[in-house]
Subunit: 355 residues, 4 copies
């Protein structure tokens, strides 16, 4: 099956392929009366847009979003919001290599195995280009949760991590790596350049935080806030791992080390730690929501890899085209969008049951 | 909201609290004609059952399952399968401590913040006791995917990992830790004993593998196989992280290191590596599905922790009761069950769309 | 597929067969803090209970409901509410006739065609016995919508309709037919007796009204209030038609005859008519919700009918057993329950989106 | 809430308002490999298209559909199919009347009550223009069920019914009323003309039949084939009643009159009657699926009706604009589309569970 819809009551569906005429999203269940225009969405798309530095793919897409429905006189009407982004730079290139043989690490073989054939142009539906639709939908979601502030950043590139002591949120927007550590950003510039020139690619760790989430959001047991976030983040292309709070590190702690003790505070407890990442029993505690995820290195590399062709015969493939040497970097606005989409949904779900 | 149902077409819903009269699951969408009886389910419950060694909680529950519907003359009918497990050992203890103050790391505060009040007896709905229902449902799921073999094991306890060179699947069933490394099992015995005696607790890493999954299962884009697995695993009590394939380690690799090259093989490609954990583009590749997850240390410890009470005043709490010193251990049959449940659902979804 | 769950955010799932050990429902998404006990549910089950007069089946079921989860200290906790009703009077009779040949009008042939075999005892899952689970779930739903009053009644039996001029709501509970017209009730007594003695059966029209629904409930476009009601009512055994407001009669009116003009009123418009049945554009208008539905005559009759057996050979069947001569009558509490279940769901959905 | 998606595994979502730039549908879950192009969809849109005779609204919309995704080299890929229809003839007219006061029978008041405000241009989202999206999606659904033939027609206009003895399917396409009785079509021409000239409107009955549905489709209990059809048909603008098979007439029959006896036939039973409309226990029997529905008269009439304005003050409104004097007529292609959409979904659901 194909399930291109995410969410329970605040839902979005995406459509479109890398090299079709357009891509888009339909956002359904949005509360009425929210101020919304293209200008509220475009900045988020611009942050994800390709071709803005030499560290990302050179495909040039303006990624201009159009709102086709669901907004009247500048406000959401409560009906579906249709968002469309035209594909402009589907360079007419020769796809015969990709059509014939499977690129390891890509969805090529799996799509063929599932569907019998595939749109091989630029990865078709499995292209990370689809994430632009998520970012657009995420911008709508943010309108639903004005009380929440979401920030994501890159924490490591190719194994080279930031120094937590140097973390400066203001830096994130100042370099092409969404890097909160100015020194690490300089190092990453060299790393990514090297990888790009070598026709190689690098993995990355992306971290995110949402502050302002009140206690009580989350839908136990099978739409727990952490479970929904894990699904949302793991659905992003190239993500192979998700952690909430301390994540895997928590497995090395003892119960007393991992406790998040509470003291009386203003309008709720003051927590003395946040190992849990702001979620207990699948429900927000009022602390910042914290998660991390791992992006594998871009599968498209300029080095030949052994593979098979559609007929099962041995082949070798190298992916020329235009690609991000480190897909994790442009994953940052996508992670933020998915976080916003989950939180908007959970806010409305909480309101449904608990008034 | 409360979402106690998981799955798209093969779905299960669970109900019940730690100290209510019973817990259970309703499995819906199961194909007709499968041989099924209590005897097919009981062994999986027995593997998860508490009180079988000194390394787990001393609550003594026979966990006897009854099939109340959906089976006729030993075969599934295609109608809902209702499974019930009576709670037998809800020891009548004094819950006034837990009723009044919030246990850090538990769902206590979050449930109160969400619902206004809570069933505080043994954690109520947020108790890991609920996972018995999942294990029962998972046993039904296994009937749907006879072609698949699922194995999970503990990979590390309290930071002490197995030696991969000593991995022996046959060992998993021979020790109380689901440990595939006989030497590690001995060490863990000491570790867990120490933690138990100290009133402390330990985290754990659980790994799982599913072999026999054909290529093509998975529902892009928002019910991708990896996304569904992440949601399923992250919904288990105490899990804080999920990895598919190499997971976080992939973020330190280059594209060429992370490639899973293919060669011609019998009835499909032979893969030369499995960094991806058997999933590409959200669809199974035919390789073994591999995942890992992190269990935090049990939050219930015998050491006093700072907290607040229901009125917001400062308090201190230590959780006496009967608890697993390392919840990750009994998480093994639960991880297996969730894997079975996701794969059964994805098998049917694939059949729906692709015939 | 099997879809035994109804509802979007206030959801219930039912399970169980006519002759299994028990039947039941799991209600999920119920708001927390509502007073609920078995005593709130039992009266509705008693109204639907078989064997209370000679006009219904002689199967004697106490239909005693047990709440197995989701309620603590007399209040709903926001977690799943498991309701169970034991089957007591599954008379051990000889089902070899029904096992071998298909009863026309029943689900026998269709279930075999779909599932390959079936639980033939008393109709198995397709038995109207399942509606007891709905009635139990409906009693919970009523707690969610205390502002709403729901009343259903029988409007016609075997083509003999009530006289609208004699409509007296107080009569509904005074006769075994849920008949608001005392004279019609007398006639129906004779009609049903005759049918019963002749081994025949009768159809019926059931009408229902919900007052107190505020304007604004409904989820356009594909979960419109009228669409959800139609689905809910049509899912009841033996129902073959559903009308909202004037229904089929509206097709004979002109636009001006069918208009529901409005005048200024207290806190909203005063409507001068209610052809629409309280729903416009799929959303409640604040007028009473009105619907009608048609129950076919019970398919189980004591007269021989031509049929085929499982091997496709010609056969003849007459259904001895214990049956309602007019299933529509005991449909009344079921129609009320479905109305309550849809309205509870729509109330919560409205709250989710519109606050 | 807003629920603009219909279906379980073959799903479609629609978006768009009467006077926005475009409307559209996203079809998800479509099997791969089906031949599909705009030319497969356009004829169905043309049948529903306004402005083709004087008996329908004079709004002139070419209703040209574009496929924006999900099709590659003329075949469906298994990914979402995005369909878009531009609105061309959104005549710039003065909507101040409609903006200020509520048109009785329309969604105006209910939308305002729900959402706080509304897109009043041409009815916004509640306009029957949305049904073009359903018709487009329905054309895709037909590709999924080539074994099924679907035919709908008008059975009565303004209370004037066809003569069943004159039923001739070939006539349906020969007159502007989808009327299978040539004489009735002539009468209806006069009736509709009169209504149009008088500024009035008429209701209609639409009937539909699907042949070729094999036994076994249907998803008991809450997605029964008849329940899903009722929901689908009742979601169409202006529909107020739905019947399956004999529908309300069945309530006047006895059990023996209503029986559909079976005799041995080729590859299944030969049924001697079809009172049930091809569905038993919510599952198809292999007989033709038969349903009827009632369309109320168009609410937009040129006669003044009492109403209130947005401030609650008394007002009078008459709807000038361009409207269908009998909306039921153009409902025919929409009923067919909904039937196709439900059957496609049920086919895939059946395949999921029963292989």
């Amino acid at each position: 099956m194909s399930f291109n819809t995410f969410g329970r009551v605040f839902r979005f569906s995406t459509w479109g392929e890398s090299h079709g005429p357009a891509i888009g999203a339909v956002v359904d269940g949005c509360p009425p009366g929210l101020a919304l225009g293209e200008a509220d969405i475009q900045p988020f798309l611009d942050a994800r847009r390709p071709g803005t530095s030499r560290f990302t793919t050179q495909r040039r897409e303006p990624d201009e979003v159009r709102i086709l429905s669901g907004v009247f006189e500048g406000r959401t009407t409560g009906t579906p919001i249709s968002l469309m982004i035209e594909n402009v730079d589907q360079r007419s290139k020769d796809y015969s290599d990709v059509a014939k043989a499977y690129r390891p690490g890509h969805a090529d073989y799996a799509y063929d195995a599932k569907y019998g054939f595939r749109d091989y142009r630029g990865g078709g539906r499995s292209s990370a280009r689809e994430t632009a639709s998520r970012v657009a939908a995420g911008a709508v979601a943010r309108k639903v949760i004005p009380e929440v502030t979401i920030t994501a950043w890159v924490e490591a590139v190719g194994g080279d991590a930031i120094d937590p002591a140097r973390f400066d949120a203001a830096e994130i927007g100042r370099n092409p790596f969404f890097c909160p550590d100015a020194e690490a950003a300089v190092r990453w510039g060299r790393l990514v350049d090297e990888a790009r020139k070598a026709g190689s690619s690098l993995g990355a760790i992306v971290a995110a935080e949402a502050t302002g989430v009140p206690p009580g959001w989350g839908a136990p047991l099978y739409a727990k806030l952490d479970s929904e976030l894990a699904a949302a983040i793991m659905s992003i292309n190239a993500v192979k791992g998700v952690e909430i709070g301390d994540g895997f590190a928590a497995a090395r702690l003892t119960g007393e080390q991992n406790a998040d003790p509470m003291r009386p505070g203003d309008g709720g407890p003051t927590f003395l730690a946040n190992h849990a990442g702001g979620i207990a029993g699948g429900i927000s505690t009022g602390q910042p929501i914290r998660l991390r995820c791992a992006f594998k290195p871009t599968s498209s590399i300029l080095k030949p890899v052994e593979t098979i062709d559609r007929d099962g015969a041995a082949a070798e493939i190298m992916t020329k085209g235009r690609h991000d040497p480190c897909v994790g970097i442009r994953g940052v606005p996508v992670v933020e969008a998915m976080l916003a989409l989950v939180l908007a949904d959970q806010k409305l779900l909480h309101r449904a049951q608990c008034g």
